[in-house]
């Protein structure tokens, strides 16, 4: 309820506060679980009313702890998908396009932004286009299908013939989706069976059951037992609930013949005879009956039309998809629609509708008294709420389609008739860049390995940004009392340290830009104290350590020893504060420099492959703005302070051999030292700094 719910729904599982925790504290999903009706906080009618807001009623709901976040906007949202782009789009071209957009700054709260912002971990990077790629813009290809339970790979030809479910013995519990196990049952222990008169007949019907070890469901509840412990899927497909075997197509045909011979003699046009109209047919039988009925009708119509009849219209072996029957249907329809047409081959009125179950007629059973008594019985016999005996929507949705048993009307409503769910197959997918068609990510095709052959993730190319509120004991004013923890006070400057960590082996120049005030309803003033800086390359840790040691070893060994005891010790790979880097300060002065706090134009801290800078924000007062602008109360997550920031990074990379062309020397400025190429990348990102307190 309290998470900042931004990311599109297809994110499989998100970090921290992104997940909207609806019903369960555990975060698990169970199909049987029903969520209580949520309080209508965001009722649209409610939002329209400018209600008087008091600070007291704003803290009635507990707030989830807030974790600062950085989301990066994928450049795919800038491109117009309808203009065809030439493949030689370079990073420069894209960043220019981005800068053309600069007149309207990126608004993280715009509705469209919902679909373009991603945490760094979700992004890939195309090495050929030098561009960020998000899950939304990459093209996916299926590498293999496999069952998540038995981890067997399923060839795609089987998918076509057998569907997208595991056809071995992998099943999920229809009640709680837990995995089902095949268990052997010893015959005597069921007292209910002993009481039942047909005990003798049931004893031979199999001795294996599927059972769930979590909710104790067992396939005996739907009257199904198996003869063999293997190939359960095939056995289950033949069994209806209650243990009867499903009719095969052959049996069905024979049965129909029998019925026809019994009711034969009478006019076939009124074939129902003494048949009970309430006979329940399963879906398959109904379809087969309807099909044969209409085929009969068609052949009758055609047969009487053409004298002598068509010898090829032998009934059963012509499907609807056969070309002959198709042409017959077509001629029938065109004939009847244009009655005045040349031939009166088809006569209206020769077709009739099905009149009996043997012809596929099923009356809708509107009498629900049996369902109601079943509910009442459940309550009286078990002492549980009758509601719990009905299947939830998710339970019904996760059921695999089964044509064998369920009648078309009044599909199963009770948990007592749910069938085991064969596991849905999963896929491994590779990803391609949408523009250059190069592969960005390709998993190993073997199911059991989790390795990747190719995986170009953005975290290896662009700097990570981490956010921390800056609190200097002497300088930062103490927070207001009774302020909830981790909230930002409105109308007061708050400082945050942004740490940029460089993942690549070249040093990187970073240029940052933000709008002076954040867009949206509650504008905050933003100042980046140091918008241009460098991050050193991500060199080997040991190399750095040794280098550092050599430089300082003889001269300041003693000093090193003493300083390494402090928290800011500039040991190997350690950090250096901006204050200590200033020329002319030495020894004791550095301590005073630290207490000065952040300075404009100065890097705050710096390390082996990271640099941190300070950003200052003055948030607007939420309560006052909400009162003034008359746009209703503060909506969910509107109190989160989000800052759009434009990041441009430049670095010099080894130019690929095949790309060095004489005509392009202008783009490669410093080309002397071994084919170095200037690269740049620019993108928008959003910094979620914290929640603004709803005081004032």
């Amino acid at each position: 309820m309290f998470g900042n719910n931004r990311l599109p729904a297809f994110h499989p599982g998100l970090t921290q506060s992104r997940i909207r925790d609806t019903t369960t504290g555990s975060g698990l999903w169970f199909p049987g679980l029903r969520s209580p009706p949520l309080p209508s906080e965001s009722d649209p009618a409610n939002d329209q009313l400018p209600l008087p807001i008091t600070p007291e009623d704003l803290y009635d709901t507990p707030m989830a702890p807030f974790n600062p976040y950085t989301y990066i906007r994928c450049p795919c949202s800038e491109l117009n998908p309808y203009t065809k782009r030439t493949p030689d789009v370079t990073a420069q071209g894209l960043s220019r396009a981005a800068q053309d957009d600069d007149d309207h700054t990126f608004d993280p709260r715009a509705a469209r932004s919902n679909y373009s912002l991603y945490p760094l971990e979700y992004l890939s990077f195309c090495e050929d286009c030098h561009q960020i790629r998000c899950p939304r813009c990459v093209a996916e290809e299926i590498v293999c299908y496999y069952c998540p339970n038995c981890l067997f790979e399923v060839p795609s030809s089987n998918i076509r013939s057998e569907g997208s479910r595991c056809t071995r013995s992998c099943f999920q519990c229809p009640i709680c989706i837990g995995p089902l196990a095949v268990n052997h049952v010893e015959t005597p222990p069921d007292p209910n069976q002993l009481l039942s008169p047909d005990h003798a007949s049931s004893s031979h019907s199999g001795s294996y059951v599927l059972s769930c070890s979590y909710c104790n469901w067992s396939s005996t509840e739907i009257g199904i037992k198996f003869d063999k412990p293997n190939s359960i899927h095939m056995q289950l497909a033949k069994l209806r609930n209650g243990g009867e075997t499903r009719l095969t197509a052959k049996e069905r045909k024979e049965r129909r013949k029998e019925q026809a011979s019994q009711g034969g003699g009478g006019g076939s046009s009124t074939g129902q005879g003494e048949e009970d109209l309430d006979t329940l047919l399963d879906m398959e039988t109904q379809f087969a009956n309807l099909k044969s009925f209409y085929q009969n009708q068609l052949s009758d119509a055609n047969g009487t039309g053409k004298v002598g009849g068509d010898p090829s219209a032998a009934l059963g072996n012509l499907g609807f998809d056969a070309p002959a029957s198709l042409s017959r249907i077509m001629s029938l329809y065109t004939g009847s629609s244009s009655l005045h047409d040349k031939k009166s081959k088809s006569r209206p009125g020769t077709m009739r509708e099905a009149l009996a179950p043997s012809e596929g007629l099923q009356l809708a059973s509107l009498d629900e008294s049996s369902a109601i008594t079943a509910l009442q019985d459940f309550e009286s016999t078990t002492g549980l709420d009758a509601y719990s005996s009905t299947a939830s929507t998710t339970q019904l949705q996760s059921q695999a389609p089964y044509l064998g048993a369920s009648p078309l009307h009044g599909l199963t409503r009770f948990t007592s008739s749910l069938r085991p769910i064969p596991y849905l197959l999963r896929t491994k997918r590779s990803k391609r860049c949408p523009q250059c068609r190069h592969i960005i990510s390709k998993p190993e095709s073997k199911v059991t390995t989790t390795r990747f052959r190719i995986r170009l993730i953005a975290g290896n190319y662009i700097p990570t940004i981490t956010i921390k509120q800056l609190i200097i004991p002497g300088l930062t004013p103490p927070p207001m009392p009774n302020l909830p923890p981790d909230t930002i006070e409105p109308l007061k400057p708050a400082q945050f340290v942004l740490t940029f960590k460089n993942p690549i082996f070249e040093s990187v120049r970073v240029t940052l830009a933000t709008p002076a005030t954040t867009p949206g309803r509650f504008p905050a003033k933003v100042t980046i104290l140091c918008p241009q800086f460098e991050i050193d390359s991500n060199t080997d840790v040991w190399e750095e350590a040794l280098k550092d040691n050599n430089a300082t070893s003889s001269s300041s060994q003693a000093q090193n020893l003493s300083s390494s005891t402090g928290p800011e010790g500039s040991g190997p790979g350690g950090r250096k504060r901006a204050g200590t880097l200033r020329p002319g300060t030495a020894g004791g002065a550095s301590l005073a420099g630290e207490e000065l706090g952040p300075e404009v134009g100065k890097v705050w801290e710096r390390g082996r492959n990271w640099t941190s800078i300070v950003i200052e924000v003055i948030p607007a007062s939420l309560v006052q703005t909400a009162k003034r602008d008359g746009r209703g109360p503060i909506k969910e997550d509107e109190d989160v302070l989000e800052i759009p920031m434009f990041v441009r990074i430049e670095w010099e990379a080894e130019a690929p051999e095949d790309e060095i062309m004489p005509g392009l020397s202008s783009t490669k400025g410093g080309n002397k030292d071994g084919g170095k190429e200037k690269r740049e990348l620019a993108y928008w990102c959003v910094l979620g700094l914290g929640r603004v307190a709803r005081t004032l």
Binding site: G32, N216, W217, S218, L384, S388, T415
Partner: protein, 217 residues
């Protein structure tokens, strides 16, 4: 190696015994409760029995090490062939720290704090609050489950891990409580098989857990 390094923990009276845990040693706080043990029960040396009332452990039941049986709210009765796992607590205080006393039944007899029927399994870390709480035959109280004071759980129920039974609730026989409190009826009809399996498990456990009933008597 171990003999060479001086141990910071002073070795106990039994030379072979060595504590590996950094937690303070659990002490037998309070009075030693009167006990009635069956001669065939298995009760580990490090089980914790406290309280002023009687603790009864019946035939062939197994009390794991560090299981707690507290009789502060009244008598604690463990039926036949029960298993009480580690850190499980019978007769626990409620979440406010109160030990409830069971209300007397119709004939005026005290219900005791906790009564386990036969073939009950109380799994690791489960809490059965005191106050006339009854757990019926063949019921499994799952890991970390809390059964409130005065609840009456029927026979052959399954309380899955981390579920809760409210105080005073009456759970019908064969109920399965799963998935944050959903309930259904177990229709497998395997209760006798489960009891057999329990007996076999107890056979194994009796060989694994050294029993020391004398310590508590």
């Amino acid at each position: 190696m171990s003999s060479a390094t001086p141990s910071p923990v002073p070795s106990s009276a039994h030379g072979h015994h060595k504590r590996h845990s950094i937690l303070p040693a659990v002490s037998q706080s309070g009075p030693k409760p009167p006990v009635q043990f069956s001669s065939s029960c298995t009760i580990a040396d490090s089980a914790l029995l406290t309280g002023p009332h009687t603790i009864i452990v019946s035939t062939e039941s197994v009390i794991h090490p560090r299981a707690r049986l507290e009789s502060l709210g009244g008598r604690v009765t463990v039926g036949r062939r029960c298993i009480v796992h580690e850190r499980a607590c019978l007769g626990a205080a409620d979440l406010q720290g109160r030990y409830h006393k069971g209300s007397p039944d119709k004939e005026g007899r005290s219900m005791g704090a906790v009564t386990l029927g036969d073939y009950v399994t109380v799994e690791v870390g489960a809490q059965v609050e005191s106050g006339g709480t009854v757990i019926g035959e063949g019921t499994t109280v799952g890991i970390g489950t809390r059964v409130g004071a005065g609840a009456v759980v029927g026979k052959h129920c399954t309380l899955t891990a981390n579920s809760t039974v409210a105080a005073g609730e009456v759970i019908p026989d064969y109920t399965v409580i799963y998935s944050n409190g959903l309930r259904r009826i177990d229709r497998r009809g395997v209760s006798e098989l489960k009891n057999k399996a329990q007996a076999r498990q107890i056979d194994v456990l009796r060989r694994m857990i050294p029993s020391n009933p004398g310590k508590f008597q």
